[in-house]
Amino acid sequence: MKKRHLEERIFQVLMMISFLLLAGSLGFILLTILIKGLPALNWAMISQTPKGGYYLGKEGGILNAILGSLTLATTGTLLALIISLPMALFLETYLRRSPWAEVARLCLDVLWGIPSIVYGAFGFTIMLALGLRASLLGGVLTLALLEIPLMTRAMDEVVRMMPHEVEQAALALGSTRLETALKVTARQMLPGIITAVLLAFGRGIGDAASVLFTAGYTDRLPTSFLRPVASLPLAVFFQLGMPFPEVQQRAYASALILTVIVLAVSLISRWLSHRFSRHTVR
């Protein structure tokens, strides 16, 4: 066999191995939470709040954490979207090739890399200064901060990929800038925006460290922005820390619920962006 073909083979095998490692670890994680969590999963788990002694193995469920996580992540993601979308458009339309754009992108990349516990600690400090207690509001603000860099950069890449000729085609037909932005640019960008939003949602809903101090934890359902709120990652954390096997099993069941939510969100986002990318011009 010639050396070139041998090289080709070796790299094919290496790629296959890395793919198997990736698929294997996903399969292993899913299998673990399924085997350990499924026996403890029942209707009560997802329809009830924790009753007295729940963490000792008595009756109840984690509806508080499910609803809490959904509220936290949804509100946080919406807030992040309101800030990220104009920021991404600003980066592309106004800063473009200026050195400030590169500085802004570098800042966002650094922010993206900061561990979420640091966001949690930072959010906690700000809340102390403002006199806020651990609450849904605090959690939402911190999650939004955590999601903004990821969302902005993801959108930024989408806007940068967009061929300017498409906008020029619309302008050449006598469109105003607003018509071009709303009828052409937005349509062209929509699949990317959806992906960015749901990517950020996934990061937000799965994060424990940022909400630990800022959102707190409670056995009640979320009702007010100023009250603490429960979340699934922390529900997993607390239950896993209990010395009772049946409570630990419930931790895996909670992890399973969280995983199913994240999985559903990514499948929906795939489907949506596929639907909306029918017309995308490349």
């Binding site: 020029q168 085609a169 050449a172 037909l173 006598g174 469109s175 062209q188 995308t280």
Partner: protein
């Protein structure tokens, strides 16, 4: 020696419209364009006759596309561009303050080098211009107009069963004809083509060329091309540009067969 070569800065006298059968539609007067500090067009004076095909030829970087884009005010989309002089369309300066740029671009259609359909269906691409300009909103009338412009562009037969499929599902050649239909739908007076066949296969290019020959009855057409054979096939009137200046312009037959300037002759003989 040719005078133009001896004194390259001598401005060309504007071509008299009387040389052509039809009165001029667009008059360019002392047009200068700067990209930053670079002067891309140097006091251009040119008359473009109505309902004829004017072809701009010249080596790359000579300012052909810049001249073309001065006619639909596309130059202002490029940063640090400065334009001085006048472009008169039926006697009205399109660069005059207070002129609505969207109205100018409605009157002057552009066919770009590569087709870029809008991110929507075949039908909506054609209907887009009709809708934004309020020419026609919905219903049967809109359907009929979309069909008519697709027919004029020679695309109807190929797309009539897939009007609601994405425009990007068409072949490149079909996409370029769709862009033509889309441009015609806003009812322009002038059609600009910036090397509109350069991305197309020979058959598709031929399609587009024959459309232009049909369309010149109703539209003033200005084309930029680097393909001399195409220029010979299409042009009624030829403009030869070199280094940001109009070196020679006149009736196609005259410029191709008896070029007055040495540089035109050299270019036509393929020397640069």
């Amino acid at each position: 020696m040719d005078q133009t070569i001896a004194h390259p800065d001598t401005p060309m006298a504007p071509t008299k419209p009387s040389e052509f059968s039809s009165p001029s539609h667009i008059q360019i007067r002392d047009l200068n364009v700067y990209y930053g500090d670079i002067r891309a067009l140097n006091s251009i004076n040119l008359d473009i006759p109505r309902h004829e095909i004017t072809v701009i030829i010249g080596p790359s970087g000579c300012g052909k596309t810049t001249l073309l884009k001065s006619i639909n005010r596309f130059l202002e989309l490029i940063e640090r561009t400065r334009v001085s002089g006048q472009v008169l369309m039926d006697g009205e300066d399109i660069y005059a303050p207070g002129v609505d740029v969207t109205e100018i671009r409605k009157k002057v259609g552009l066919l770009a080098q590569r087709p870029y359909p809008l991110p929507m269906s075949v039908y909506d691409n054609v209907a887009y211009g009709l809708r934004i300009h309020g020419l026609c909103k919905r219903g049967r009338d809109l359907d009929a107009r979309v069909q008519r412009y697709l027919e004029i562009a020679g695309l109807w037969e190929e797309v009539k069963d897939r009007l609601h499929k994405p425009a990007t599902s068409l072949s490149i050649g079909q996409q370029q004809r769709l862009c033509l239909a889309r441009g015609l739908a806003v009812e322009p007076e002038v059609l600009l083509g910036d090397e509109p066949t350069s991305a197309l296969d020979p058959i598709s290019a031929q399609h587009i060329e024959s459309r232009f020959l049909d369309l010149k009855e109703r539209y003033t057409i200005v084309l930029v091309t680097h393909i001399l054979r195409q220029a010979r096939r299409l042009a009624d009137y030829v403009v030869f540009m070199y280094m940001g200046e109009v070196v020679e312009c006149g009736l196609a037959k005259q410029v191709f067969e008896h070029p007055k300037q040495a540089r035109t002759r050299a270019y036509l003989e393929g020397q640069f």
